[in-house]
Amino acid sequence: MGRKFNYKASGDSAILMSLDEDINEKTNKRIVSLANRIERDADGYFEEVIIGFRTLLVQYNPLKVSYHSAVEKLTYLESVSGNSTEQERRHIEIPVLYGGEYGPDLDSVAQLNSLSPEEVIKIHSEASYLVYFLGFTPGYPFMGGMSKEIATPRLDSPRISIAPGSVGIANDQTGIYPVESPGGWRIIGQTPLQLYNFKKEQPFLLGAGDYVTFRVILNDEFNDIKKRVEEGSYVSTVKERN
């Protein structure tokens, strides 16, 4: 069952619930399932829940509930959600075209780790990654699980513009840029999938608690998937897994 959450007022309309545990899959499962439970039983008291690595930030409405009653309700929800860590998790495959114009930093990642570009691709695409939560920019996944063998520091000077779908490495993290933005991550490839598209019924490809794997694709398949994504006929590969 693990330790209990600590509760702390954060401003006059939010409560920070934090778990003094390591950042791992188990902690993430507890946090995600409690977040779902709070949203389900919000009852007009709780307005939004933001998931962190080992925290939940719960916004409450102080005109409807006092801080102490809000904490009491959350403590109750914590006590009843504790054993529901067996929920099914989605596994999403993200096709990536590595290297070349879409992955200009693949070579530097290889060189700095004394590997060949092919070895970097192999290591990056063989691992399975856990999406701890989304944040920073719309649909941006904070992922864990990258091998330290391909860990590489950020670029000395950030790029002014990075294309949406770019897959990058910064230290021991890997990430995917959902929207065009500046950034200092080393870009090793690009996915033709859209992580954020507000025109779709489900605007976000990923969610907290999902698993991600990267599948190596070549130019033709990249163009084909990109076309189908734009037409709206592409269906991502999603498997349920425990």
Partner: protein
Amino acid sequence: MFEIIKPGVFTTVQDLGRNGYQKYGLAVSGSADHHAHRMANILVGNPESAAVLEVTLMGLKMMVHKPTVIAVTGGDLNFTINNTDSSMWSAVRVDKGDIINFTGCRSGCRAYVSVVGGITVPEVLGSRSTDTIGKIGGVEGRALKRGDMIPFEEQSIHHFQGIRRSLPHHLIPKYTSDVRVRVLLGPQEEAFEEDSITTFFSSSYQVTKDTNRMGCRLEGNEIKHKSGADIVSEGIFFGAIQVPKNGQPIIFLVGRQSIGGYTKIGGVITSDLPKLAQVKPGDRITFERVTIEEAHRLLMEEEKDFSVLRSYSYR
């Protein structure tokens, strides 16, 4: 329709925000000053959340294409109709061909223009608010440009009884360049040197030119950390006062990102957040510590004012 002749420094369509999407990394957005936004809508008989124009500092000039009733609240940006000074904080009739202009900033920073029936750009993910990072809401998810046509509800205003109705004087805020805001300590107050917490509450901080809808950036006496400024990334709330390594506070506003990895010394109470929407570069801010009970009491008092106003019949 309003036709934008000059967009000004930064004008956007905003309602009270896009709620429920922070866990996906979308900003809440919405009017930076909820108080002025709600008052503007109450004056024209709208639901308080109806979409309005948020005008920053100066320069918006637009032409009215259909007679309607508007109200302008918030910062005094020298609001004129056909080059004649016009009343803020009251319902004003405008006719086809009238030119609405905001020529300069006398006090505050952001003005709000409400219109009977509200601005009717399409809702995106449950809100009409412009989010320039997610590129959604308002007009194509961006600040207004010359030539934009801003739609509002096409309804008859013959039955509108509230023309020239104004807010009672005591409810109109005075925006000054010295602002005092009340703060709850935490959630990471233990990360700071005790002397630094004293420094924070006894110094005045100047608003820098990098201030925008995402955050109010301040400059002043350094707030020192005991060991480090980094924390494991966690959710951020409206009014959170983050202090990164350089010891200079940033207060998060409506355009904030959802997640951050720096220590937060405190949070500005909800009742004082509108003041932060009305400061501009060069203004000064001081902080005063209060309890959560006090913060909630102030909020409830303010809501009483709103419910009294709502109970007037404006139509």
